[in-house]
């Protein structure tokens, strides 16, 4: 049997779903859209029933993508997800608005049960609901009072939904609107008139079933006081800055060591495979292709987990909608809305969770623009590149009390933010949409997050990343590895045989480094790096940089490792100084001038600030937009922007 779970956002629907199914759920996607489809399984007397968690909606007449999904299912009895029964979660503390959806669903003619949730909050608001009478006036439907957050009433609910066939309402609440999964009214204005009539009828009904007891120090008044503080012109923004500060401190402090640990683990796994297995193509593939490829996926998990833990807390407490409320005004001129703020800011840590977080933006145009511009925010993977290049070319000077190196770093972050906002502004004119931008948003009461919901949410996000985007990331890393390890014919072997063989034991490490350098230079990637040299020379780069640009397409921080390989420096932590020395001594073959000057160094930093040098981001953009077009456009426009900006930088400074 298929049971659909329907309810308003903030009605506690997710808590009901988690309570009923526990971890026995799987997340997929509704076809064609990126709306999560969660299916859980309920076992009762050895029969398994499917519980489908439909997205939270306010009305059966769709205005958002989420509502569109529910609309498509419920008006089509032949749909694969068309339910046999519907369980509607109704927020008892906000009965009138919740009954709109309930009575619409009830009129569809599918057996329906009402889970009357948050009865404790209703109680604190002084609301007394006569459920007996409510059931009578709604045609005899079943009502189960519950408190999903604590699990109260869940067993009765389970029993009612699965066991007893819930009675269908004896007559529709409002006739002539729905008939057995058919929506009889198509005209928008007529639909609106119907909703108005429904509300008027609900209001009449509520005068019989709902009594307001006087309460001292109403919960609503107390929450309003918090609201006034959190949306204050000064304190509101200060609190938000403080929250951001805590989040970023935590991400940088807590994500680093698990990331280092993952790095070390995969490195030692590679080393172990190389020692334990006989040398050959298979061992190389495993040790240098597959294991690092998997590592490149797993390495993102700490940041994704932490960022989503914070986003979850902000959402669950109700604070997030206040942030949207006070920042919407500043985002609108750029074609974004208040909900774009958190993804954009998260982009400073990592674009991947940031782009995954755009799902809360229900306007597709604004969501797409946010996805397209978020990777311009300087993420943490750019930091090693910036650090190396700043150390290399920026002089250790002070401008007033400020260190020039620090100023350049700050400038790179600012330029990312400005570029993101400008790109949004441009996209605003390009992206077409019939959907009007609106911000009609409920500001829910504040509440404590439920930690078991947190575990389930994080598990979903990590799974989504690892199994969906992970496939693309893994495949591209293998391809890049093949291109960096093999060259046409025996070009690599020939080049390596030119290197003088080591005569003493002490010369072996140097020889090996030289070999990997020469091998990379003669691989397919090396050849491409040479080939693009004419194109990147106007930016102040040589073919060595060309190679690093291509290898670091896998991930920006690979730039440092590739530079080390090309300049035959071991990848030890202590050797950064020597890498800088080597790079400093590098001269242009034609002019004899140093390659890494302030002009070429800044040009390279600008390039990394703008270029889409991250296949993982492209993979997640594909996953979130379901269309190859968007990651492709993103790759082209960001690389183009990077090229032009780097060209201007170099030409102006040299």
């Amino acid at each position: 049997m298929k049971i659909a779970l329907v309810g308003n956002p903030n009605s506690g629907k997710t808590s009901v779903f988690n309570q009923l199914t526990g971890l026995n759920q799987k997340v997929g996607n509704f076809p064609g859209v990126t709306v999560d489809k969660k299916v859980g399984y309920l076992k009762h007397e050895n029969v398994s029933h499917e519980l489908i968690d439909l997205p939270g909606i306010y009305s059966l007449y769709p205005k958002t993508q989420d509502e569109e999904v529910v609309y498509d299912i419920l008006r089509n009895p032949d749909h694969a997800d068309y339910p046999d029964r519907i369980l509607v979660v109704v927020d008892a503390s906000n009965l009138e608005r919740n009954l709109l959806l309930f009575t619409q669903v009830m009129d569809l003619g599918v057996p329906v049960t009402m889970a009357l949730n948050m009865t404790d909050v209703a109680d604190r608001k002084g609301l007394v609901i006569d459920t007996q009478k409510l059931s009578e006036v709604l045609g005899g439907i079943k009502i189960v009072p519950i408190i999903a957050r604590t699990g109260e009433g869940m067993e009765v609910l389970m029993e009612e939904v699965i066991h007893d066939a819930p009675p269908v309402a004896s007559e529709p609440f409002l006739g002539g609107e729905f008939d057995k999964g058919q929506f009889l009214i198509d005209n928008v204005d007529e639909r609106k008139a119907r909703v108005e009539n429904r509300y008027k009828k609900i209001r009449q009904l509520l005068t019989f079933v709902l009594k307001q007891k006087p309460v001292s120090g109403s919960i609503v008044e107390r929450h309003r006081k918090v609201d006034k503080f959190l949306t204050h012109p000064v304190f509101g923004y200060l609190v938000f800055l403080g929250v951001l500060l805590v989040i970023f401190q935590a991400i940088f402090a807590w994500a680093e060591w698990p990331m280092d640990l993952i790095d070390t683990l995969f490195l030692s796994a590679s080393a172990w495979v190389q020692d334990a297995l006989p040398p050959g193509v298979f061992t190389d593939l495993l040790a240098e292709g597959i294991i690092p490829g998997l590592g490149g996926v797993v390495i993102f998990i700490p940041q994704i987990t932490l960022l989503f833990a914070f986003i979850f807390i902000l959402e669950e407490t109700g604070y997030m909608s206040r942030v949207v409320f006070i920042l919407d005004r500043f985002m609108r001129p750029f074609g974004l809305n208040g909900r774009s703020v958190v993804p954009l800011i998260s982009g400073v840590a990592c674009a991947i969770p940031a782009i995954m977080a755009t799902r809360t933006i229900d306007n597709w145009k604004e969501r797409l623009i946010t996805i397209m511009v978020t990777p311009l925010m300087s993420c943490s993977a750019r930091l090693p590149v910036y650090t190396l290049l700043i150390a290399l070319v920026v002089p250790d000077q002070y401008i007033g009390p400020f260190n020039l190196k620090g100023l350049v770093l700050l400038g790179l972050y600012l330029i990312g933010l400005v570029a993101a906002l400008l790109a949004a502004l441009v996209s605003k004119w390009i992206v077409k949409s019939q959907q009007k931008s609106f911000l009609v948003m409920e500001l829910p009461l504040y509440k404590m997050p439920r930690w078991n919901n947190l575990v389930i949410t994080l598990w979903e996000k990590v799974r989504l990343f690892v199994f969906d985007a992970g496939k693309v990331i893994f495949s591209i890393s293998i391809i890049l590895w093949v291109l960096a390890s093999y060259g046409p014919g025996d070009r690599i072997e020939e080049a390596v045989s030119q290197i003088p063989k080591p005569t003493t034991e002490a010369e072996v490490p140097d020889y090996e480094k030289e070999v990997s350098s020469v091998a990379l230079a003669n691989s397919y990637i090396g050849i491409v790096g040479h080939a693009i040299e004419p194109a990147i020379r106007p930016l102040g780069y040589n073919w060595q940089i060309g190679i690093a640009l291509i290898t670091s397409f896998a991930a920006r921080e690979v730039f440092v490792g590739s530079m080390a390989t090309i300049y035959s420096i071991g990848e030890d932590f202590d050797s950064e100084e020597t890498l800088i020395q080597r790079m400093r001594n590098e001269t242009n073959r034609l002019t004899g001038e140093p390659v890494y000057t302030l002009a070429s160094g800044l040009s390279l930093m600008i390039f990394y600030a703008f270029a889409m040098q991250c296949m993982s981001t492209l993979a997640i953009v594909l996953r979130e937009t379901k269309n190859w077009k968007y990651p492709f456009i993103q790759l082209v426009y960001m690389t183009g922007l990077a090229y032009v900006a780097a060209l201007i930088t170099y030409q102006l400074l040299s």
Binding site: R97, K192, E196, E442
Partner: protein, 73 residues
């Protein structure tokens, strides 16, 4: 004509009518329909959205959205 965006905070009014517009059907879905008691609870700074109270539930909407709602004292 008095519209929702021009009210003082806590000024208690009733919704009179809504402009016919693709957006207003969203407002009706959210419980802003003719005859409903409504008041502005607080506002976002710098000309941002406003927050209205509908029977103890708080809804935020932009000012131009609020201007589509005609109210009577």
């Amino acid at each position: 004509m008095i519209t929702l965006d021009s009210l003082e905070i806590n000024q208690k009014v009733k919704v009179k009518s809504l402009v016919q517009n693709g957006l207003t059907s969203k407002l009706v879905d959210m419980g802003i329909y003719p005859g409903k008691d409504i008041h502005v609870a607080f506002r976002a700074p710098f000309g941002g959205p406003i927050a209205v109270d509908l029977d103890g539930y708080t809804l935020s909407l932009r000012r131009e959205e609020a201007s589509l709602v005609e109210v009577e004292l």
